[in-house]
Subunit: 199 residues, 2 copies
DNA sequence: CTACCTTTGCTAACATCGTTAGGTATTTTG
DNA sequence: CAAAATACCTAACGATGTTAGCAAAGGTAG
């Protein structure tokens, strides 16, 4: 049935189109001013069509955040493939995380609920652990010869993630200066360096 | 003119009452469901009265966040008065910050824009630096004898703040387990300990 | 006391939002 | 060809933030 296949393809296209248009709007005007009606306008369909593909607005934002996690994960996977030395890998992961956040601030805010409504109301997404898992792998490799308990390792993973996320969050809320940006990048580099040295 | 004074007092009382009621509602139902009409209902006045005291809803949330900063600052000031040793002071500040966040999650979210709408849209509030300034003082005292450049000191301040804010943010978005809570508290204690040792 | 003005509070509306009910074509299926 | 499913729309509901405009009350000046 070539016809039904075309229809399925059209349906999928509609869905991805909604997501693409929503992302475009979020990038242009910020997620705060994203509305169903604006999406409908942009895809040149009426409002209810959107509800044929998504349960509600939150669902759309959720799917967008998943795209963000996938994008981040791809870079981390690439690091993993290309870099053998776990210390270098960890550094690269940190750098990737940082770059991801500042190249795609809308995604980052969506994914980690910075200034987002409803982001905390729903379920806890397992994707939140994407970064945690990747740095966890690297840190475990580094620490494997030393005699660290599982708990200690776990602490270190959390501490590492936290300082990165904290720096990024803080920077995003007081992003007045470019000075801050370069300075905090250096804070990150230094902190990562010191952290790895003390592993 | 005793009469006009009473009127002024009444006006101020109305204003603080609006804030108090708003805070109550936020604590009970979360800031996401705070609405002007609910506030009006609770203070037993009609909606437009609120706009005689606040420019808009964001203004109300802003004022509430200032209350939060004042509350936090009071605890930090108390630490400063009571603790001489800068290392102990720094530890106490960290503990206070942590406790503040988990005893008043609504305040913390309001102040640092976790899951908040419009928090990033407005101006950058100088109050954001309340904690930074206090730990900055302590860290500077610790570091004063060692030969650290200003830049290095500044990095350390940011790193310290970041790891705390990062841990708290991450905990708040994945607050499924109590396990997480105690674990992360330990992560914080360990990290603070290690940080101070390496100052 | 009367005329005025400021304050205080309200009702009612506007625009926008997320969401849904219900209808009309069109297309697919039996 | 009739029936069922699909695609799509208009129009509404309820809730939101915000404001215009009016009525009553209180204080002030002649």
């Amino acid at each position: 049935m070539g016809i039904t296949e075309r229809k399925i393809r059209q349906k999928e296209h509609m869905r991805t189109n909604i997501l693409a248009v929503a992302l475009r709007l979020v990038k242009d005007e910020g997620w705060q001013s994203l509305s169903i009606r604006k999406i409908a306008d942009a895809i040149e369909y009426s409002v209810p069509v959107i509800y044929d593909h998504f349960a509600n607005k939150e669902d759309i934002l959720y799917e967008l955040s998943l795209d963000g996690f996938r994008l981040l994960e791809r870079t981390l996977e690439k690091n993993k493939r290309n870099i053998r030395d776990p210390r270098e890998l960890l550094k690269a992961h940190a750098e990737s995380y940082w770059n991801f956040a500042f190249k795609n601030p809308e995604y980052y805010q969506l994914m980690y609920g910075l200034g987002m409504p409803c982001s905390g109301s729903g379920k806890v997404k397992p994707e939140l652990n994407v970064f945690r898992n990747h740095i966890g792998e690297a840190i475990e490799k580094i620490v494997t010869d030393k005699k660290s308990t599982d708990d200690e390792t776990c602490f270190k993973i959390h501490a590492f993630w936290s300082v990165l996320h904290g720096l990024i969050s803080i920077m995003m809320m007081r992003c007045s200066d470019i000075d801050d940006s370069t300075m905090n990048k250096k804070v990150m580099d230094d902190t990562v360096e010191a952290f790895i040295k003390n592993l």
